[in-house]
Symmetry: C2
Subunit: 298 residues, 2 copies
Amino acid sequence: MKDIFGSIEAGGTKFVCAVGVGPEQYFRKVFPTTSPKETINKAIDFFSYYEKEGNLKGIGIGTFGPVNLDKKSEKYGVISNTPKLNWIDTNIHSPFQENFKIPIEIETDVNIAALGEYTWGGARYLNNFIYLTIGTGVGGAAIINGSLLKGSGHPEMGHIFLPKLKDDSFEGGCPYHYDQCFEGLVSGASISLRCGKKAFEVKETDLVWGLVAKYIALALVNYIYTLAPQKIVIGGGVMKQKHLLSKVRELVVRYLNGYNYSNINQDTINDFICAPSLGDNSGVLGGFVLAKNNFNLV
Amino acid sequence: MKDIFGSIEAGGTKFVCAVGVGPEQYFRKVFPTTSPKETINKAIDFFSYYEKEGNLKGIGIGTFGPVNLDKKSEKYGVISNTPKLNWIDTNIHSPFQENFKIPIEIETDVNIAALGEYTWGGARYLNNFIYLTIGTGVGGAAIINGSLLKGSGHPEMGHIFLPKLKDDSFEGGCPYHYDQCFEGLVSGASISLRCGKKAFEVKETDLVWGLVAKYIALALVNYIYTLAPQKIVIGGGVMKQKHLLSKVRELVVRYLNGYNYSNINQDTINDFICAPSLGDNSGVLGGFVLAKNNFNLV
C-alpha cells in the first residue's frame, strides 16, 4: 500500500483539504470556513477515512495567521489577533494531533504555497523568491537562500504601510491599521468594503482596479528593495481580475524608475512577476511538501 | 609575525580604512570621499605599508551601492546608478586587487556593519536581525538564518516607499524616487536639502525631527512585517540626534498597534530597537570579518 500525505490550506474564506503525493496524484475537497469547531471537525472527518486505512503518513497544515509556530511554546499552533475575530485563540494544531497518531506539521498558508511553487511550480531552482497572495487577506512568504524566511515568528507582509493615493478617499479595511497598510487597501475584504459588494462582483471596467494595481505595485517595490527576490509569484482571488497583473508589472517598472540592482525592466518584468504556475493549488500541494519533509525527519 | 587584516568602510561622505584583527586590536584612518581616483589611491597608500611588511592577509571592503557583487559578472565590483553621481561606473574592487596580491572581498557598507554587530556587537547569537544606517544615504542589511540576505544582488532597503505625512510639504531628496522613498525623506542629504543646512547643524528643538522620527518608525514597521527580525540595530550620522531613538521606539509600538507575532511592545521595544553597540565602528570591524572569512576559504 502506497504512502500518502495529507494537506490543509486553511484560509479565511475556505478550507482546502487534500490527500495524495504531489501534483500528479491527489484528491482535494473544499468547504467554507465557518466557526473553528465546525470547520476543524469537517477536516478531521475528511482525513479519518485515510488514516484508518493506515497509509496516511503525515499532514501538513498551512493556516492564515498570525499563528504561533514555536514548537517550544505553550501556545504552539494557536492563532492570535487575526482580523478573523471568531478564530482568535483557536489552536489549529492540537485537534489534529489529538485525533491522529501521525506527524502533524503547521506553517502559514502563504509559506506552504511558497513551498508548492518552489517544489513543483514556477519558482523551481530559484533560491530567493516571494510568494504573495491577495485574497480575503493579504499574505506574503519568502524563500531566502533556499529556506523559508521565518525570523522571529513569521512575516506579515500584508501589513506594510503604503503611500495613500491622493485620489483615494477610502477609509481602509484593516482592523489594526485602517487605510495605512496594504491589506487595508487591497484585500478582498477591503475591496468589498470599499465597493459595497464582493470583490469578484466588481466589474473589470471599475476605476477601483486602477487604484488596486497601484497599491499592489507600491507594495512589490517595497518587497523588491527589502528582499532582492529573483521572482515574485502572486496568487489569490483578487488577482483573478483580468488585466491586473499586466498593470501591476507596468507600474512596478515605472515606480522603480531604473533604480535597482536586479535589472528589472520592461523586458524582464513578465518573467519577474508571475501568476502561480500551480494555479489555485500551490498551497494545498505545498502542504504535501511540508508533510513529507516532516515525515523524512521522523 | 602576526597575521592582520584590512578593512574599508567606503561611505558617501568618508572612507574609513583600518588594519587589525578585531575590536581589541586595530588601527583606523579616516579621510573624506572625494573623486573615485583620489579616494581609492589614498586607501591603497594606507594599506601598501602593511602589505609590504608581509603580514596583511586580506582586505574586506564594504561600499555604498548599488554595487555588482556577482563574481561571475564582468561588472563585478562596479558601482552603478548611485545618487553619488561621480562614482557611477567606478570599479571599487579591481584597483585593490591589481595592487595587492592578497584576497580582496567586497560587500555593501551595511552588510559589513551587520557582520560587525553579528560577530562582536549587540546582535551576537541572533540569527535574524536588521542593521540599518541613516547617514548621507539610508541603507539596510539583514542577517537571515545566520547568513547575509543577498537574493538577486543586494537589498536597497533605503528606497522603500512610505506614506507621506500630511503636514510635510518637502519635495524629497532622492534623485530616483523624490519624496516617495525613505531615503528621499530622511537621509542626511535629504535633511540638508529640507533645512538648508547640514543635518548635524539642525537644532534638537527643530520640528523636523518629529517628522524624521515618524518616517523612520514607518520604515521599521515595514521591515518588521516583511522580515520578522529579532532585533533592529540603527546607526548612521542622523541617529546621533538625541531623542530620535526613543521617539522612534515609541512610534513603532504605536504604529504596529498590537498586530505582530513577535511580541513587540512598550516593555520589549528598548531591547528590540537599539543603537549599534560597536558605535561608529560596526562597519570597519565587520570588514575584518569579511576579510577573515575569505582568507579561511583560500
